[in-house]
Symmetry: C2
Subunit: 121 residues, 2 copies
Amino acid sequence: MSKPEADQGGRFAYPGLDRVIHERARLSILTSLISHPDGLSFTDLKQLCALTDGNLSRHLQVLEEADLVGIVKGFDNRRPQTLCRISSSGRRRYSDYLAVLDQLLHDAAAMARPEIAEMSA
Amino acid sequence: MSKPEADQGGRFAYPGLDRVIHERARLSILTSLISHPDGLSFTDLKQLCALTDGNLSRHLQVLEEADLVGIVKGFDNRRPQTLCRISSSGRRRYSDYLAVLDQLLHDAAAMARPEIAEMSA
């Protein structure tokens, strides 16, 4: 059996996988918003993320309270519209989160090819 | 404002982010186990994932019920030991999950550099 080294405590804990961002619906929302820097309407966001009105509202509220997105009530051709945008803090934290995902993928890929893991050790 | 095309419904929904695997502690457990094909003791796993006894037990139970890991009670030098291994089905589903993560990272990277996204469209 492979024995982990003593200094490997928490080696696979990935504390950087921020729970506010990691939740699937919220990850979906943030990825949509990062790709639309000018913002997305509630309706477009709902469609891109395949979420119900209730779920999208609930998760947007969590993201807004965490200062990851900003929600602006406005008008589009005189019709009331909710516009959602990722905040600058959201952009930074989403980017930090992605770096951890990237690390996880590298870890998993290295494990699948132990000779490469040994080469890079 | 960027308007998503009609055929982009669910474009950022990532349904392949299987909730059983996506939960952070379970993702941590599976990444540890994929890297230790001979299995890990409960104690080593707890340390690698920085989890408490209670949390590790709870998440291992979820993973075992989903047929993603196998848990064998055995002995190590006459001391009782719980050995955890990723199952072949777990290996397959974890790999499918990673492919979706990889897609998400590519999506996010493309969005950060729209000229690249356009080149690959």
